[in-house]
Point group: C2
Chain length 332, copies 2
């Protein structure tokens, strides 16, 4: 076995209690004693056993960040921000990938997948309101995204408002035939809400909602490209603007348009969602909805922190972050 506090105590000629005090920067320990203990620790190569400490404190210092998929740029970005915020509040982050699997999301909810964590931040895709009853009682949880489970803290992206803003921008610059890319039969709540905002925008601008211009597609670059290729090759008339439900789709679409010789933005304006770094650097640069991810991460971590430490702070249990529509070359 590794060297324990007991060993250190014996070596330094003090009690275990004192060693613990030194390790935890506790109370008053005489400088001389502290020095002796530190010396003994150094000499024996003592490293505190975190499992024992966790057991005793019933706190591990770990939180889980649960995402559907790590390949999507936005989740990786968010993870980076969550790690940073968590560290600032003294937590470390365990990454859990659900592969958008409903079963796994439920496992997180019911506590089967949270071993060794004090709480979780989850980006859930498939949860429904009635799943609330499967929740493990007392386990701190914050949801990111659209789903509101009764009584669960939650921080959201303003999907509807942002989509509305996109349509206003497009219609406001004279576009009339708007395509929505990424709407799909297996759509998540997020997709539905963005669709909603899109439709509201059309109505507001007095434009018809054309089913043929609501194109289903997974939110990947490859599918965005493919969807547009198929649309063009089928000979259907082009829209004069495309609103893609995320930047991956938009950038895939951009590639397809370029290959088919369609000019962006002259013939077709293009707008994405998420504002990943790449949007600023594509050719043409991509207009995109930029949700405030930093705020999102900060709020989520802070909410979780409160639940874990049990310090309520009057903070709203439901929050929606800001967004900006970054207008770039692809839609001007």
């Amino acid at each position: 076995m590794a060297v324990s506090m007991h060993d250190v105590a014996r070596a330094a000629g003090v009690s275990q209690r004192t060693v613990s005090n030194v390790v935890n920067d506790y109370a008053y320990v005489r400088p001389e004693t502290r020095r002796r203990v530190l010396e003994a620790m150094e000499e024996l190569g003592y490293v505190p056993n975190a499992a024992a400490r966790s057991l005793r404190r019933s706190r591990t210092g770990l939180i889980a960040f649960v995402v559907p998929d790590f390949r999507a740029r936005i989740f990786a970005d968010l993870a980076g921000l969550v790690v940073r915020e968590a560290e600032a509040l003294g937590h470390r982050v365990l990454i859990e990938v659900t592969d958008s699997d409903r079963e796994r999301e439920l496992q997180v909810l019911s506590g089967g997948r949270n071993q060794l964590t004090d709480g979780a931040i989850m980006m859930a895709l498939s949860l429904r309101p009635q799943d609330g009853r499967r929740r493990r009682a007392g386990y701190p949880l914050v949801l990111m995204g659209d789903h509101v489970l009764e009584g669960v803290h939650h921080v959201a992206i303003p999907n509807r408002e942002a989509s509305l803003a996109v349509v206003r921008h497009l219609a406001g610059s004279g576009r009339r035939r708007l395509m929505l890319l990424g709407h799909g039969p297996h759509g998540s709540e997020t997709a539905r809400t963005r669709l909603n905002g899109f439709l509201a925008g059309l109505a507001e601008a007095g434009l018809p909602a054309d089913e043929a211009l609501m194109v289903a597609a997974d939110w990947s670059r490859a599918r965005g490209r493919q969807a547009i290729e198929e649309h063009i090759d089928s000979g259907r008339p082009l829209p004069d603007a495309i609103f893609a439900m995320n930047d991956s789709l938009a950038l895939g679409a951009l590639r397809a348009l370029r290959e088919r010789g369609v000019l962006v933005p002259q013939e077709v304006a293009l707008v994405g969602f998420d504002d990943v770094e790449e949007a600023r650097y594509s050719t043409p640069s991509l207009t995109s909805v930029s949700p405030d991810l930093e705020a999102m991460a900060a709020h989520a971590v802070a909410m979780l922190h409160e639940q874990i430490t049990g310090k309520p702070s009057g903070r709203e249990p439901h929050l929606t972050v800001d967004f900006h529509l970054r207008i770039r070359e692809s839609s001007q």
Copy 2:
């Protein structure tokens, strides 16, 4: 306190031992007994305490993945792969960010930053051979990248060979004035090795090594862009090819070239390193070195797994993964 095994045992009218057996799918438990226990667990909402289990088993099931920075796309990609591989072998992954801070890297090495993990995979930037002595004895560790610490398992990217291949490709298609972008005074070992391969390639092709064409820059998109802008604006003659030390630099450079009206690849060929997804979708698409990241993640996790479980497997303690030079529009 939460409900414990003891509570379940009492409720089911069996001993704690039997509950443990059921929880761990152990040994022979009479079906009838198992059923009763399962029922009691369900009823009481029992969730095993992972900290206690970890203490007892002296194993947490967690491994740390330590990266310099999470914003760089390649680290996020790698993290996703590591999480997947780890899960397949029954480990979960804790993400640790060092911000390229040498002190933090040393803390990982010495065990101060590995609380609750059974081992770590680290992408170290600043470690030097003599740091080996600071290593925490017996703590399973695998390094990714260039640094070889005496006696530490290690999986590498073939930086020298790949850089050589890039120069061969460029020189082979008639380019004569090659710029190296990303070489810098604070260069990591990785940068030095890529520089090495570059110089070897020049020598092999009988081309001069021109100091003025070795441009220092952090490996970010913004810096790549800025470096090329400055070069052009200073009136210095353009190279006919640029080898950027990673794709971020290359894509930033591409942006600068485009804005200054320089044609890629007609006037200047451009090659990057890492082959991030974006390279395939840029305009023009980017030629890049594609190291086999999947293999890298798989090897690293497997090596760590062996150390943790103590099952040696004749696998080499040092391994270099394959790479492919993906030749695309930017260099043809």
